[in-house]
Symmetry: C2
Subunit: 203 residues, 2 copies
DNA sequence: ACATTTGTTAACCAAATGGTTAAACCAAGC
DNA sequence: GCTTGGTTTAACCATTTGGTTAACAAATGT
């Protein structure tokens, strides 16, 4: 019946599509380029994924799923805010240094088509900051933290961690660093960012 | 010689092109759609701007130029770091609330083609953080600020101000806010962000 | 008035692009 | 060995897209 090569081809396609889509976006990507990158015939893309749209969605879902475990550190674990921040920052930045195209890809395509989020949102715990907010309020009432809204703190944490990778060309221009220098700046941020946040919120 | 409508048409095109490019990006934008939005014939786009690429560059340069005065607050004025932060934050966020597509547009296209920066970089004072860094070092030596590298502080300031607008769909999903709620969150940030930063860096 | 320049339009074009098809290929079961 | 059914390929197709052209309209200079 089925060849063994079956699954292999599908993975080859997904890997190639990931690279092309992340580099060029949905609109900029070409099916032929994906086929070339996967060393297969263009018709195979449609045989396995029916359309560019469906192939893209498969890639996007994979990409988004890679970030979920990171976000859970902030949103759903039981530790203190300080630990959440330290833990998330070092873990997230290390992770993104290995997958530098990921944040930009997700943000770019989410802006192009915000409806994608609802398609993924079945996993409701992932996009729910209630638990985080409760913990923030608790620690404020315990005089551990200065007053701040949970939403704003959450936005700030994401911003400080994610933004530099999204704005990499801009930051490289300002700091006049090359790729190696930029990477070093980012590595430093694994501790710098959590210190910055802790200083800002701790009483 | 020239009709009076001359300049008017060019501005109509630029305005329409701005809207379409900012909403769909270079790759997603269609010349026909821009022509329709400007209520003119498609051939006019080429008559005034020769090619899609050149029209895009005109739009991009305009967009980038709008941000320059904002950045100068941080980089080139003579005030203290605290004043720079307060001044920039309230001014920048108010500005972006009026032009919400701008940051995402610029970041997206800079990632697609980082070479655009060099085309603009003739204005060297805009992309130079030396003066800002010197001021940071001065205030650290005066015991006004906690030790922090100028680069990292600059990245943090940009991140906290720009990121929420770039990641708007994500933030709307997390906070479960509608457009009005999101806008309110952003307005709050005009003071929240500077307080956050000041707390983080002031001794 | 009239020639010239500039602005505008509709029709057209070649290339690129996502997608389809029909035939070939090939491993497995009989 | 040959049938069967999923896999792969080359050729093809319709549409879209950026760009061009040639004719026409409106100003302007003289």
């Amino acid at each position: 019946m089925a060849k063994k090569k079956d699954e292999n081809t599908e993975l080859q396609i997904l890997e190639a599509a990931k690279n092309v889509f992340q580099a060029k976006g949905m609109d900029g990507a070409r099916m032929q380029e994906i086929a070339d990158a996967a060393s297969i015939n263009k018709a195979m893309l449609h045989y396995y994924f029916r359309s560019k749209q469906l192939l893209f969605e498969a890639v996007f879902k994979n990409a988004f799923a890679m970030l979920a475990p990171q976000l859970n550190i902030i949103l759903n674990d039981e530790s203190s805010i300080e630990d959440k921040v330290k833990n998330f920052t070092s873990s997230y930045i290390s992770f993104i240094i290995k997958h530098p195209y990921l944040p930009n890809f997700i943000i770019q395509e989410l802006n192009r088509n915000p409806a994608f989020l609802q398609k993924i949102q079945e996993n409701s715990t992932l996009l729910n900051i209630d638990k985080f907010k409760k913990r923030v309020e608790l620690e404020i009432s315990q005089d551990i933290l200065k007053p701040i809204s949970g939403e704003q703190l959450f936005i700030n944490i994401l911003a400080l961690n994610i933004f530099p990778f999204v704005a990499k060309p801009l930051i490289k221009a300002f700091t006049k660093e090359d790729d190696a220098g930029f990477k070093k700046l980012m590595k430093d941020r694994r501790t710098e960012v959590s210190e910055f946040i802790i200083h800002a919120i701790k009483k």
